[in-house]
Amino acid sequence: MKQEYTISIYTENQVGLLSRIAVMFSRRKINVESLNTSPSEVEGIHRFTIVINQEEDVVRKIVRQIEKQVDVLKAYFNTNEEIIWQELALYKVPTDTIAEKAKVERLLRAYGARAVVIRKDYTIFETTGQREEIDTLIQVLQPFGLIEFVRSARVAIIKSSKGFHEKLKDFEQAETSLSENND
């Protein structure tokens, strides 16, 4: 059964690694729903967060292939229940409609949107949350003349993870043990 999986990859910070990881998905004709690169809890170690919609068996195999890459330290995959995740979205709407229609203001409050910039001609709102909430707000704002919309990639924290500090110590040693994914 296909479902959303979030893949978290701890890597060295190397030019070219993004493309090395990206081609592993495209080779298998897997669409990447979302991809984020950022620093991790460990200085100098990068963290990729990739979301795909696939069957578990496919995800498990690709994660093993990713982990095999020389510059990859560790890769995990998790279902949505196993992570805390957020996405950020920006919405640009005409300021006059906001000012005129009190309804819009109520809606924005209901969705927890925050005004980032207010100018005479437009206002930019920001929401942070999960995909469904963000997408609903687009629908709601559309009739009021939504000018621009953008949503960020997913960032996710694995609920059960104890972080990478201790793991890295194992990797620093000449002989390292290979443990199952997601332990």
Binding site: E12, S19, V23, R64, D71, A174, L178
Partner: protein, 578 residues
Amino acid sequence: MQTDTLATTSNNTEEQIEISGSIAVLKALTAEGVETVFGYPGGAIMPIYDALYDFRENLEHILVRHEQGGIHAGQGYARASGKTGVVFATSGPGATNLVTGLADAMIDSTPLVCITGQVFAHLLGTDAFQETDVINITTPITKWNYQITDANEIPTILAKAFYIAKSGRPGPVLIDITKNAQLQKFSYTGYTKCNHIRSYRPKPIVRKEYVAAAAELINQAKRPLVIFGQGVILGKAETEFKNFIEKANLPSAWTILGLSALETAHPLNVGMLGMHGNYGPNVLTNECDVLIAVGMRFDDRVTGRLDRYAKQAKVIHLDIDPSEIDKNVKADVPVWGDCKETLPMITELLQKIDHSAWIQKFTDCMSKEVEEVIDNELNPTSENMTMGEVINQLNILTKGNAIIVTDVGQHQMVACRYAKFNESKSNITSGGLGTMGFALPAAIGAKYGAKERTVVAIIGDGGVQMTIQELGTIMQNNINVKILILNNRFLGMVRQWQDLFHEKRYSFVDIESPDYVVVAKGYRIEGSSISKREDLIKSLETMLNYPGAYLLEVFVGKENNVFPMVPQGCGVGEIRLK
């Protein structure tokens, strides 16, 4: 450059000296023990070639005729010697000509370090002359690749390159060096070999519980079957493997890349797996109760249809690459690790068990195969010669001591089926990628990798025309390789499929050949061509005894098919004998 800069490197206490990036590259190679480099110069790699001029005493450079020839030679060298092959090419077309060889080395786990020149760093991304994004082109077909734009990186990156190429599951590494970095003078503090990269684990730690579980399964097995691949050769575990199968009397069948890891004549060697493998190992895969896979990856040409593959058996899979476990066939017992370590651990726990009744089944299957296929192939009554009888005569003359390098197609399947081997690392072929044109350059490399051995390249009339320019390399360097062309005047394997599965619609498989003997003569290489059976033995003797390269063309039957065959989409149990 003074010769004193050629002195031993790998010395940390060495005083700092100013050298160019190019010299640092060559110092890295000599420190890694590289003796032979296959390559082709060009604009963007000229500083390295300039430095190479002063390293002629330390490094043997073989000028090939095409970069594809260079990289296949590097592969042949690696496969015959067990060392890492080294290849030089320039930027742009030089680099893109490596692509087929990189893909071939990647899928066949061959250790290579390829060094490509690149345009000046300030020109990157400007569509400069002979600029190509070789890093991104080669990303999916290299174990690792890296672009150097600063000479200071050269010693550490090359040390990493050699370590990565050879350790764990080997593979090709490509290092792209911009011209400015080759020219740049930097303060060199010596070369230190790499033996650890924190993000890279070449060998998974062996889990004892799986070793014990594997041994227990084997001890309980009534009908065990071992299937082994190149992992045994790459792990230099031939002795450990033999001890393992001998202790519990385990019949053992090989993949095409595992061939020669166990001598052909060994009583437990039950033959070849897969599409054109032997009858017994294929059908009995679906009768065994425990299937023990050692250093092999369940390629689709070995398994046939997966849902009809060994469903009745418990599967034990030994592999150094954890991503191979459960990739195609689910393992009941995954034994991660280098088989040189895991095999003795399992062997120690094995009981001596007599499996002679089970082994007899393989013998019976072989009798059936001899009667229905092999006899006709090796002792044909037809007027035309068969490929099998040529290989058979060659076996008799070489006594199984030659390195056999094959190309891709019918001749490859026939050679692998019938060639006899006494020694490991003697069968060199393009297995995973199926690269026509592989054999001639790979044979050149094999000869440099095993100078004392006889190297015979067996090639079809299709494949030989793909890299025939390497006759020039053979000519210039007086390379003593024997070139045996089995000419059936067809692209035989494609024709066979058209015959069997496309109603004999022979679409573009009728290929004409030049007069190979005349071509060889043009390259000042001796040769002859035969089409009559009575000339076969004498011609093979002439070829083998000739003190130098020799090309022998043998015309064989035009429309012979290779059997047995597991047709695509069928299970191994559905193997056809005709």
